[in-house]
């Protein structure tokens, strides 16, 4: 489902002495089925933007079209917005509260007013989709699971609402490398199965480069860059000027270039870097 944001602005503590422009005249389009990575340092307005997309925050000006609905228009049912846009917060495992995993995942679908049978189907489907064994896990207490499992249960709770747009705020924060990799694979899996839009925030540039179709860069409440990962990460200097980095592998290639090696530095993945280096060294070392 496409998203159109026009002239979006948001002010915190309006009219108070500590008034602060959190989002300033944001414009962007997201097309059907895209995966979008959002980057920006802490306090750049990423979380504020995401919370607008599912109606948790109301803009001070501007419009947000999700499909054909303007969710900022007066009288739009919140339930309708939440059915379309699912938001997974940072450290979502801290929102688990039910006695069993299945009950917890069912919380969202239940709030949508679905039938019992439909809910049961969705819970099973969502848990399998995030890579958990439904039969094995459904009756366990969510509080007895490992950190990575808890996080996946929490994400399943939103996926079970079958949103057309799935938003994830730093989905891999605090996880060890194994669990981190699992979550990345899970995102691709969910995207493949539900063919939804996925918007995710990350500080890990390698993840952003490998997953995203489109990258949005926020700085100080403004959307300063939008483009493919290639377009965005080829502007190393501009990113550095706002305190961001290119993926480590890209950075390595830049360092080689700076060291006088004639090599293509606009590389985003390990595989590409391997090829570049192999071709170069094979020629030079013999």
């Amino acid at each position: 489902m496409s998203i159109q944001v026009r002239n979006l602005s948001h002010i915190y503590s309006k009219g108070m002495p500590d008034e602060q422009l959190a989002l300033s005249n944001i414009n962007f389009d997201i097309y059907d089925g895209e995966i979008v990575g959002v980057i920006g340092h802490t306090g750049s307005g990423k979380s504020t933007l995401l919370q607008h997309l599912n109606g948790l925050l109301k803009p001070d000006s501007g419009t947000i079209m999700i499909g054909n609905t303007d969710i900022t228009a007066p009288g739009v049912a919140l339930k309708e917005i939440r059915r379309r846009v699912g938001l997974v917060f940072q450290y979502p495992e801290y929102q688990l509260f039910e006695e069993t995993v299945a009950q917890d995942v069912a919380f969202g679908p239940k709030n949508l007013g679905l039938s019992e049978a439909e809910i049961a189907d969705r819970v099973e489907e969502a848990l399998e989709l995030v890579g958990l064994d439904y039969e094995d896990i459904k009756d366990r207490s969510p509080f007895d699971l490992s950190g990575g499992q808890k996080r996946r249960v929490a994400i399943a709770g939103v996926i079970a609402m079958k949103p057309h747009v799935l938003i994830l705020d730093e989905p891999t924060a605090g996880l060890d490398p194994g669990a981190h990799q699992d979550i990345l694979e899970m995102i691709e899996e969910v995207h493949g199965a539900q063919n939804n839009n996925i918007i995710f925030v990350s500080h890990n540039m390698a993840d952003v480069a490998s997953l995203s179709d489109k990258v949005m860069v926020l700085d100080n409440g403004k959307l300063v860059m939008v483009g493919t990962p290639q377009e965005v990460f080829s502007q190393k200097q501009r990113l550095e000027s706002i305190g961001l980095n290119v993926p480590p592998v890209t950075n390595l290639m830049y360092q080689l270039k700076a060291g006088g090696i004639s090599i293509n530095e606009n590389v985003l993945t390990l595989k590409e870097a391997e090829e570049e280096l192999y071709n170069y060294l094979q020629r030079k070392m013999i």
Binding site: L56, R83, F97, F107, F143
Partner: protein, 266 residues
């Protein structure tokens, strides 16, 4: 934003009143309240009011800020005022059915109302000019004599200061959990009382889990930093009376004598 809530409404400043030893300020406040009850006529209140006005002036807390603090208790003031006006017997000046206003009633109502207003302004001045953490420190030191009869004064103070430290953290946590559950379609605003109470479960359970996690982490962090109760502990900020504290103490004493003399001779 929720994190901006200040507890006890501290008004940052560098005035003499702000810098006074918090123990003096607590004792002063208690004395002031006692004096409001010693006083038995409007002349006495004039003394108290003047003293309070001087302190407010010196503290540089804007009077508007103090009056705003009266707002939440305005209802109580009006209520006691009305209660006195109608309930006291004496020379009737106006009557309608069982409702009557007497001269004595008017007098008592004005007297009680004034006492209440002075009392509230006096005690809010304490929290306005003293950081909550200094207050807990002062309370610990003032209660210290009770240690001898087995009251765990250090532990009480430690509990109060940890509560002060974690209230903003827990408020933020609550805000996050509420938003997360709202994003899952939770509705906290509609339905009858029962269903509303039930809708709090998705907030309260995670909040308790968080609070326990924080408590556990904090206990471990405190132990790692060699915390072992109040015994043998020193403090970085020693509370020592400065010249201004002695001066304040003398002023307090003189004022108490003045109030007592006023009661006896005027």
């Amino acid at each position: 934003m929720i994190r901006d809530i200040t507890l006890g409404q501290y008004y940052a400043g560098e005035s003499v009143i702000h810098r006074l030893d918090p123990r003096i300020k607590i004792i002063g406040t208690i004395l002031f309240i006692a004096e409001l009850f010693i006083v038995h006529d409007f002349i006495g209140f004039a003394f108290c009011g003047a003293a309070l006005a001087i302190i407010v002036g010196v503290s540089k807390v804007p009077p508007a800020f103090i009056l705003r603090g009266l707002k939440p208790i305005l209802l109580i003031i009006i209520f006691t005022f009305c209660l006195n006006i109608f309930m006291v017997d004496g020379r009737i000046i106006w009557q309608w059915g069982f409702l009557k206003i007497t001269v004595e009633g008017l007098y008592t109502a004005a007297f009680m109302g004034l006492r209440l207003v002075l009392l509230i302004i006096g005690s809010s001045l304490l929290t306005l000019t003293t950081k909550p953490i200094s207050l807990t420190d002062a309370i610990e030191r003032l209660l210290r004599p009770l240690n001898r009869i087995g009251v765990p004064t250090h532990e009480i103070a430690m509990m109060m200061s940890i509560a002060l430290r974690f209230i903003p953290t827990l408020l933020e946590e609550t805000d996050k959990i509420m938003k997360a559950q709202q994003a899952r379609g939770a509705d906290f605003e509609s339905g009858n009382i029962l269903s509303r109470a039930k809708s709090l479960i998705p907030i309260l359970v995670p909040l308790f889990v968080s609070a326990f996690r924080i408590a556990q982490d904090l206990a471990m962090a405190m132990e790692a930093r060699c915390y072992r109760g109040g015994k043998g502990r020193t403090r970085m900020h020693e509370m020592k009376f400065a010249g201004r504290d002695v001066a304040a103490m003398i002023t307090l004493g003189v004022f108490l004598v003045v109030i007592i003399l006023e009661r006896i001779y005027l």
